[in-house]
Symmetry: C2
Subunit: 344 residues, 2 copies
């Protein structure tokens, strides 16, 4: 059903897809079906791309037997490893380590803290020791609490403007996967609302999710802790704390989806066993036609290759085993993605 | 600037306003300005109605000096006492008591529980004793936990279909204030997104908020507790618990707004000191033109009259004192609202 295009045609189609995504009312005009323009030019032709396009068309075309009303077209995306890389470490962890280094320059006594020493020495195993990962929590408390939400936002913005990924030499927010950016746009052009459902911190994601993914703050579900409301010289502020921590990962993902969205998604996208329950919640015994997809990192040449033995987070074993039984689509990154990152 | 209409004209205008609200693309056509049709027919002419219409026009008309981009046009509404009554008790409490009565019929030994006795005997003061209101929590645990989210939803739907308000003899979901329904529609017709920010339970509100207020589940911020994800015979379910309770009231309201919406509202609507911090957060030192409104229950004849001495919840003392200083608009229900409830 997808029209094959010459390379020049593909560029034009991509430009058109972009335009359409920016003008959803035009995209909705039945005379110009989005799929005919190749909405996913960075995806190679094959069963994975076909499965995505077919599913989106099935649930969004008026008159389709599997039509789903737009209000219920909720798609949820994991972030680390699904929308951008999670190596050599999840980027928020790199932010925490960079920020901690700065903190220690201001407050040298922090070096006496064994967990700060472990973090600065790169001993991440030490930080993850114990059932509650006390070391990691200590680093998060030092870098993600005690400041106002506005101060935190400014700090993340400064970091994004200056830090560079060690392998790609680019700002982290220029490493969103181009195929996934196209998929997000294609879903939205077909009446879906796209949500992030990430183990990462909601406050961290919300600083840049709208600019990078087109996902507004109110559609970001992430790990959260409570803030504290204060009036400071007539100005209301929210101070970040580590109280009442909610970790939006594994079985916490459907819990977070229910708490924040209050509806069951019909499509879910992940890359690790941390996304297993989100995919189960989305696709098992759902009265609506549903879609589950896993990004399998198979591309050591252009990115990273891992599943059972990840270098950082993102183990993919059980979800991969369940994929055939549950009908989840598995992306072979090396094979299915023609392009990984947007042009600089 | 508002065209005065004859009573017959007002009815036609109301019908038109409804039509416009249902067809936002038509409402956005500049040739037919919404305000010219009297978008708020149930509000009596006067400074309150004028303040609302002027504010909405200021921030939403392209070219206005105070124009706010649509993405930031976030309006938050308290529920109990603001969108529907909170007497003789908040309606969710009446649901809990009705449900408890049913539960006790099935499990008579529950009568031995002193808190169940207090609840069934109407001794609400007893339930609220202690800093953590253990009695109330016990009643909530019995009526709002231990079942799946779908079972809870079905139970609330059954209750709404059968229970009647003791004074008005109507189903509770037919007691939304007509002037506030018009206000919600008017805001949405002008590019606002409307959110509930309530001390009530999000799961309770989400059952009917879309049908009654046009507010979808993902725009409901309320008190929440975590659910527990389970697979039961291949079906994913979420079991309601009372763990990790977050009370979205008083200083919890800006905290909830930040956690769930992640943006500062530009307009907030409440009726009690439980909404004080939400109005402060919305209107104080906001770089955007903002709007705060309090519904003052002054109408013993048609509804209830209370502020410092409420019969149930909803004390209004400090917020009312701060209103002139902060520029918040105060609705005098008896004077400003021509109609209270939708026609049956």
């Amino acid at each position: 059903m997808v029209i094959q295009l010459s390379p020049a045609g593909a560029v034009r189609a991509a430009a058109l897809a972009l335009l359409l995504a920016a003008a959803p009312s035009f995209a909705a005009t039945p005379a110009v079906p989005v799929r005919a323009l190749d909405a996913l030019p960075s995806w190679r032709e094959g069963p994975v791309k076909r499965a995505i396009l077919t599913y989106v068309e099935r649930v969004s075309r008026p008159g389709s037997a599997d039509y789903v009303p737009a209000a219920e077209r909720i798609a949820t995306f994991d972030n680390d490893g699904t929308l951008w890389p999670e190596n050599p470490l999840p980027f928020q962890m790199l932010y925490a380590l960079d920020t901690l280094r700065e903190r220690v320059k201001q407050e040298p006594t922090l070096r006496d803290d064994p967990m700060v020493q472990a973090a600065l020495g790169g001993d991440l195993a030490r930080l993850l020791e114990g059932p509650r990962h006390e070391g990691l929590l200590r680093v998060l408390a030092l870098t993600h609490a005690g400041m106002t939400t506005e101060e935190f936002r400014a700090s993340v913005q400064r970091w994004l403007a200056t830090a560079r990924h060690p392998r790609y030499g680019r700002p982290y927010d220029q490493l969103a996967y181009q195929p996934m950016l196209e998929l997000l746009r294609h879903l939205r052009a077909n009446g879906f609302r796209t949500f992030i459902v990430s183990g990462g911190g909601a406050d961290f994601l919300r600083v840049w999710s709208e600019r990078v993914y087109g996902i507004p703050p109110e559609q970001v579900v992430g790990s959260t802790a409570l803030t504290r409301f204060e009036l400071r010289d007539g100005e209301p502020v929210l101070v970040k704390t580590t109280n009442h921590l909610f970790v939006d990962d594994k079985a916490g993902k459907p819990v977070g989806i229910h708490a924040f969205i209050g509806r069951r998604p019909i499509a879910a996208f992940g890359n690790s066993d941390g996304d297993l329950q989100m995919l189960q919640f989305t696709t098992m015994a759902n009265s609506r036609p549903s879609f589950g997809l896993l990004v399998h990192h198979t591309d050591a040449r252009r990115e990273y290759a891992y599943d059972a033995h990840p270098t950082s987070s993102g183990k993919l074993v059980e979800a991969l085993q369940q994929a055939p039984k549950r009908g989840w689509v598995v992306v072979d990154m090396a094979k299915d993605w023609a392009v990984l990152f947007p042009k600089p």
